[in-house]
Point group: C2
Chain length 290, copies 2
């Protein structure tokens, strides 16, 4: 199975877990449930679940558990998008080609949808589908990626980034985007109970991959179109956001992207052919157009 | 040691854990760290930590672990207050007698502080201070209380509560306030590895206590003063919030409060004198003036 088919399979498996978790028959208020499904079932590549699933497969972890852990990462990712789009934050109207949650519903609902998706991430990662002996460690990996030293801190820096130096930009992006991608890769090893050496190796892979992902994202803002990306482009320059292409030009950003991809692939060398899908994931990140 | 001294000891122990977790020397952006400390170290009775600590003590769970689990519950509670106060939600300027987080800082920071505190709750409850064998189950109890079927769903209902019937009001309050208080009591039993019978019993105790807590809170809004409560009063009637005193009068609310206190105490009967502090907690809830 090639990379595209693996990504599609991961997306379908993730959506099954998410759809079951967001079953409208529960006692959740109907419109809140609808807004939550809108936020998390409305497309998305399910790239983080793929990373969890493929990293877990390297060490022969059970696939069902990996799918549930992947869905938890997707919930956390989806929550961060909903909150980042809020008027008080990046104030975006479009996401994945559709109105953002606060536009399609309202601001209070969007705040609550994000809050609920973060809780759902931790509910899933500690659910019966995940071996009890690993659940605590997995939830800890997710929490560290999510919090003030991870995604939340990164978003804070991004909103207040206008005087960041180059090192500051790198640190901000490592927190905002890199932390969750690195944690997804690490979580695969944790789920499998792999030794610390592998846990560290998968985390390093994810850190380089996350940096490559952010560089590609920033390049898309410079080089992409709204039709391709499903969101407003050119906003980084307009908003004076601190990105590598904005500061150093597209050519330098492409050079750094390739260096990150090479470093990520190097982390996977000990796993040989078993890591073929993760190797392809690097290429996917570097060449993505949306 | 009487109830007041126990509550103070629990508060001090909780604040030590929280202060260490929010150490300014970490790589968290300084102003975000400051706003987070403002939100969670700015007073508060630490009633939920007390419940965790006392419920855990019933079954001889290690006190250090109970303190950390209690601090996790306090983080979740603090996050919910920060988000509930936001302009798009309850739009409150005062909390515990001080400007709310979005007033003292700004709206984006307040959203991120809440998001980060929810993550910190799960970081603490799965930290090395908590036995690894219990961490997953504890995080699951916390996540269920936090999510769309708990606090988030309750806040959603509260914001859209104008046409709720009496049953709807009860359900909304059970989700918004009751879920976390019940989970705190249950968590004590889970941390100790107590049998399901005790887990269910402590949870029932917490559900009655949570209902009593909400009734007392609603009565304070009718009968209290801003000087006593540290927040705006009379806003429920002004905002046509669905509360029992607003719908049925203070006398009926007092009657129901007493019935809940009695039901809560009845859950504790098997534990005799060992549950003395939790029995006093019921009285504390019923008679609180802030």
């Amino acid at each position: 199975m090639g990379f595209g088919a693996r990504l599609m399979a991961a997306a379908e498996a993730t959506d099954r877990v998410l759809a079951a978790a967001l079953d409208p028959a529960t006692r959740v208020p109907a419109r809140l449930a609808e807004a939550t499904r809108y936020a998390v079932l409305g497309g998305g590549k399910r790239f983080r679940p793929l990373l969890v699933i493929e990293a877990a497969a390297l060490f022969d972890a059970p696939a069902d558990a990996a799918t549930t852990v992947g869905a938890a990462f997707e919930c956390l990712h989806a929550y961060s998008l909903v909150h980042d789009d809020l008027p008080a934050m990046d104030d975006d109207d479009l996401r994945r080609g559709r109105p953002t949650v606060h536009k399609a519903f309202d601001e209070a609902t969007a705040i609550l949808v994000g809050d609920g998706l973060q809780a759902l991430a931790f509910e899933l990662i500690t659910s019966p589908a995940v071996p009890a002996a690993r659940a605590g460690a997995l939830a800890n990996v997710l929490a560290l990626a999510a919090g003030n030293a991870g995604m939340v801190g990164g978003q804070y820096c991004d909103l207040n980034a206008f005087d960041l130096d180059e090192e500051g930009v790198g640190r901000m992006q490592a927190m905002k985007t890199g932390a969750l991608i690195a944690a997804a890769c690490e979580a695969g090893a944790v789920l499998a109970g792999a030794e610390d050496e592998h846990r560290v190796r998968l985390r390093s892979f994810g850190e380089h991959l996350g940096a490559a992902f952010q560089l590609a994202d920033d390049l898309l803002d410079v080089e992409g179109t709204t039709a391709e990306t499903g969101k407003r482009v050119g906003k980084d320059a307009a908003g004076r956001k601190a990105t590598i292409p904005a500061r150093f030009g597209a050519e330098e950003a492409h050079r750094r992207l390739e260096a990150r991809v090479a470093a990520a692939r190097a982390c996977l060398e000990p796993y040989g052919e078993r890591a073929a899908v993760l190797v392809e994931a690097c290429r996917f990140v570097a060449e993505r157009r949306s």
